[in-house]
C-alpha cells in the first residue's frame, strides 16, 4: 500500500527530566544522555520532516527544557517551516528563556499538570516546589502571550480534581485543555495498581467532560482521552499505524509511536543512517501494521476495522503478548472481560505504592 505523508512528528529531545512521574510513558530502558542527537542532527531531521510533509512538530522528552539548545532547536524548526509546540512541565523554564523561545518563533506551549494543588502535584511529580514553579511559568506564558494548552494527566489518585483543573485552565487563559487519563505504556505499566481509575471514576469523568464541553463551548476546547481499560471500543491509536505521525527518540531511532519499542520483533531505523523519507515509506517497523492486511479475527471481518484499526498495538502486546491481536479493550476481543476484571482488581488496590520513574544514567553503554 502507499502510505500518506506524515502530518506530525514527536521529537523526544531528551529523556532527562526533573520529575519522576510514576505514569511516565517513556520506555523502561532509556537511552543515556551522551547518546542524544546534537543540535545539527535535529536541525537536519526537522528539514527532512518538513520536506516530506510534516506540518506539526511536538518538542517533547523527558523534559525538553533540559536541553540547553532548546531555543536553537525551535529556531531551526521554524526555519524549516514547522509549527512548533513545546510539551513541558515548566521546570527549567525562566522568564528570560521563554522570551528567547518567543523570539525564536515558538508557536504554542503545552503545559502538563500533575495535580491542582501542591500536595498532589508535587507528590505525583516527585518534585517538591514543582507546582509553585509551574504556576509561575504559566504566568510568564500568559504575559508573553503564547497560546496555551493545559495537559491534565489524570488517574485514580487525582481524578476528583478534574473540575478544578478545568477552572485552572480558564484562569491561566488556556484555549485548550487535554484531559488525559493515564495510558499504560512504558514505565506506567509498573503502576497500574497505584493509578488505575475505578469504573465509577471513569464514568464520572465522561459525564464531567460532556457537561463541560457544552458549558465552555467557544471558550475552552476540551480534548479527552478516556480511561480505556473501562471502555468497550479501543482508541484509534496514532490515527492508524504509519498514517499520520512519527516519533524520533533522543538517540535518533524513528518509531511509528512512542511505545513501539515495547514490541520485541520490530527493528527501528536511525536518522543517522537513513533519510526520514526512506524510513517512513520503506522502514520495516512502519510497514508492520500499516493498513489492514496484518489483522487477525475478529478485526479482519469487523466493520470498524478502518475506524480504529484494531486499537493499540502496544497495548495488545503489553496485555496479551501478541502485537497483532485485537486491542483487548475491544468488546469483540476474547480478552475483553479479563481486561475489565484486571482493571477492577488494579483499581481496588488502595494501598499500592507509587513506583517513581528512574532517570537514565550517563553512560556510553549501548541500550536496546
Amino acid at each position: 500500500m502507499t502510505a500518506p505523508a506524515p502530518i506530525a512528528m514527536l521529537a523526544e529531545l531528551t529523556y532527562r527530566c526533573p520529575l519522576s512521574c510514576p505514569y511516565c510513558s517513556n520506555p523502561v530502558q532509556m537511552a543515556a544522555q551522551d547518546s542524544e542527537l546534537d543540535t545539527a542532527d535535529w536541525a537536519r531531521v526537522f528539514r527532512e520532516a518538513a520536506e516530506m510533509g510534516v506540518l506539526q512538530l511536538h518538542l517533547s522528552g523527558g523534559e525538553p527544557a533540559s536541553r540547553r539548545d532548546l531555543t536553537d532547536l525551535v529556531s531551526a524548526a521554524r526555519k524549516a517551516g514547522l509549527y512548533t509546540n513545546l510539551i513541558t512541565s515548566g521546570i527549567g523554564l525562566t522568564e528570560k528563556r521563554l522570551t528567547q523561545l518567543d523570539d525564536a518563533g515558538l508557536d504554542h506551549v503545552q503545559l502538563s499538570l500533575q495535580g491542582t494543588n501542591p500536595e498532589m502535584a508535587d507528590e505525583i511529580g516527585g518534585y517538591r516546589g514543582g507546582f509553585a514553579r509551574k504556576l509561575q511559568v504559566a504566568e510568564w506564558i500568559g504575559k508573553i502571550g503564547f497560546p496555551l494548552t493545559l495537559n491534565a494527566v489524570l488517574h485514580r489518585r487525582n481524578l476528583h480534581q478534574l473540575p478544578r483543573a478545568l477552572e485552572m485552565a480558564q484562569e491561566m487563559g488556556a484555549r485548550r485543555i487535554e484531559v488525559a487519563t493515564v495510558q499504560f505504556h512504558g514505565w506506567a505499566l509498573k503502576n497500574r495498581a497505584a493509578l488505575m481509575p475505578t469504573r465509577e471514576q471513569a464514568k464520572e469523568a465522561n459525564q464531567i467532560v460532556t457537561q463541560a464541553r457544552k458549558r465552555l463551548k467557544g471558550r475552552l476546547v476540551i480534548d479527552y482521552v478516556p480511561a480505556d481499560y473501562h471502555e468497550d471500543f479501543p482508541k484509534r491509536c496514532m490515527g492508524g499505524w504509519g498514517t499520520t505521525g512519527l516519533n524520533v527518540t533522543p538517540d535518533g531511532q524513528v518509531l511509528p509511536c512512542h511505545a513501539a519499542q515495547s514490541i520485541p520483533h520490530l527493528t527501528f531505523d536511525r536518522v543517522q543512517d537513513k533519510s526520514l523519507n526512506e524510513i517512513w515509506y520503506n522502514g520495516a517497523a512502519f510497514n508492520a501494521y500499516r493498513g489492514t492486511d496484518w489483522m487477525q479475527e475478529p478485526c479482519r471481518s469487523c466493520d470498524r476495522k478502518t475506524i480504529d484499526f484494531g486499537g493499540c498495538r502496544c497495548q495488545a502486546m503489553a496485555v496479551i503478548g501478541d502485537p497483532a491481536a485485537t486491542d483487548p479493550v475491544c468488546i469483540k476481543s476474547p480478552h475483553h472481560e479479563s481486561l475489565q476484571t484486571q482493571a477492577s482488581a488494579f483499581s481496588a488496590q488502595d494501598d499500592a505504592p507509587l513506583i517513581y520513574r528512574e532517570a537514565p544514567q550517563k553512560s556510553s553503554d549501548p541500550i536496546n
Partner: protein, 91 residues
C-alpha cells in the same frame, strides 16, 4: 457571525501553504486544517481590521456571487473555527 463582527486569527493560528500536498492549511495548536479554495479565500481576507460585512462584500464583488450566499457559507465556516478557538472576534 454579525456583519459588524471583526474576525481575527489569534496568535498561534496561521495560514500555511503545504507544498507537499499542494494545498493551503490553517495551522493551529496541535491541529492542521486543510482549506478548500473558498475557505482560503475567506481567511486570506481576515486581517483583524475589516468587519465580516466588509470582507464578504469584497468577496461577493470579486467572485460576482450573491452576497447573502457568501455570508451564509462563510458565517458557518468562521463560526466553526471560532467554536474551536481558532478564530477570535471583536465587535
Amino acid at each position: 457571525m454579525l456583519t459588524t463582527d471583526i474576525p481575527i486569527l489569534p496568535r498561534g493560528v496561521r495560514l500555511h501553504h503545504d507544498k507537499v500536498r499542494g494545498t493551503w492549511v490553517l495551522l493551529a495548536p496541535e491541529r492542521a486544517i486543510t482549506l478548500d479554495a473558498v475557505g482560503h479565500a475567506i481567511l486570506n481576507e481576515v486581517d483583524g481590521t475589516r468587519s465580516f460585512g466588509e470582507i464578504t462584500g469584497a468577496l461577493a464583488e470579486r467572485y460576482s456571487a450573491p452576497v447573502d450566499e457568501i455570508r451564509t457559507d462563510s458565517s458557518g465556516f468562521l463560526d466553526a473555527l471560532r467554536s474551536r478557538r481558532f478564530l477570535d472576534v471583536s465587535e
